[in-house]
Symmetry: C2
DNA sequence: GGTATCTGAACGAACGTTCGTTTCGCAAGG
DNA sequence: CCTTGCGAAACGAACGTTCGTTCAGATACC
């Protein structure tokens, strides 16, 4: 019933930052190494010395780029939430005015972001709690905005009669969850690449919303 | 798009062990306090001294009951997996032979377990990685067995033509995920109690499996 | 009088962080 | 062309604290 054990991928795969806003250099190298370490061992499980070792630096060198270990995490969490929100917003902008198309765009973007940046998804969702409130607040605000995008689309579709859903809140949570758990079981492969996965999540989401899918099963 | 921020509930609610297999006494008190601490701060974020303080004991006293901090976690993880697997197995046994009824039983049990024991769900799913392989292995084996139960039901329903699903693996993951993310957003209330929630998850699962739900939306 | 439980003190190791010094690329001055 | 000075970056050593754990002795119960 549970899902396959967490993949070694989070441990082994090179972490990649989604944002091009961070210029190359040591600061970016630190963020990428920290992303990998925090994703695989957790914030408390990865020490400054581990991070320095991965970078072939001495621990003290890190403090020329970040004021503390917590600020490294805060920066990752902030970048993750911003990339996520921006991805959803952009997808929605290009999706026309039909609720079904809008939902398709949101679910696709949500799934692609989580499938392509699993480490960032894990850090954003599991380690944000260790941040003091003032460092977590901006990210939490973005999170609510992203949730509001989905709720608005579902509510509009329901008002128009194209969605028929037993409970809007639980259904919205279910749709979000499809993407959120991806890093824990999904690995891209030829048999199931990220694009097919996104399509499948769109199909599952529409089914939950009571929209008739294609008459013949895809596979 | 994301889901509401993690509830204070994991921090504040008294942790309750699902299993009656652990007799009352200090050992049980340790497990319950550790469950609460590990769920709210993570294994590495909660120290032996924190645990002793919560129990009004001195750190050294814990070592009369467990050989190490890791063994406390290992016991929690083992109990969680065992309660989960046992819950699913029992539910399936009382569900007759129809795939739809079997799926309803599995999803109900899965949802109820996660909704009623959110701390244990969190610890089981997030902290199992810190265990050395030999301590994690029994739990991982149980996890695979539980996953197999769901897969078998879905495959049988598909073979009988009552389920129509674009991709069995992704759909199974989606159904599992419904429960797995519950601790992060759900709080029982009169407006949405655990029983309603389980029914909703059953309905969403059946929709994903292409089963016609009740003609009129429930709410 | 043993057995189970807890205390108090201590252990070495690892933690995040600080700080004075060194290294190095590079632009300006003679 | 060589020297000088400078700022950024990294080093090396150390700081005070907290970590998980050990152990001899006190206490209480059957």
């Amino acid at each position: 019933m549970s899902v396959t054990p967490p993949p070694s991928r989070l441990r082994s795969l090179k972490a990649v930052l989604p944002s091009s806003a961070v210029p190359d250099g040591t600061r970016r190298r630190i963020l990428e190494a920290a992303l990998q370490l925090f994703a695989s061992r957790g914030f408390h499980g990865a020490s400054i010395r581990d991070l320095a070792t991965a970078l072939e630096l001495r621990p003290s060198a890190l403090y020329a780029h970040f004021p503390s270990k917590e600020h490294v995490l805060a920066e990752l969490v902030r970048m993750g939430h911003e990339a996520h929100h921006e991805g959803l917003r952009t997808a929605l902008l290009g999706a026309g005015s039909e609720p079904i198309e809008q939902l398709r765009a949101l679910v696709r973007a949500h799934t692609l972001l989580h499938a392509n940046h699993p480490q960032l998804a894990v850090v954003v969702n599991e380690e944000i709690h260790v941040l003091p409130p003032e460092l977590a607040a901006p990210s939490l605000a973005l999170r609510e905005q992203s949730a509001a995008l989905l709720h608005a689309v579902i509510e509009r579709g329901r008002a128009q009669g194209v969605f028929s859903v037993p409970h809007a809140g639980v259904t919205a949570a279910a749709i979000s969850t499809l993407g959120l758990r991806l890093p824990y079981w999904y690995e891209p492969s030829a048999a199931l690449d990220v694009d097919m996965l996104a399509d499948l999540h769109v199909e599952l989401s529409l089914r939950m919303l009571g929209v008739q899918g294609p008459p013949a099963p895809v596979s």
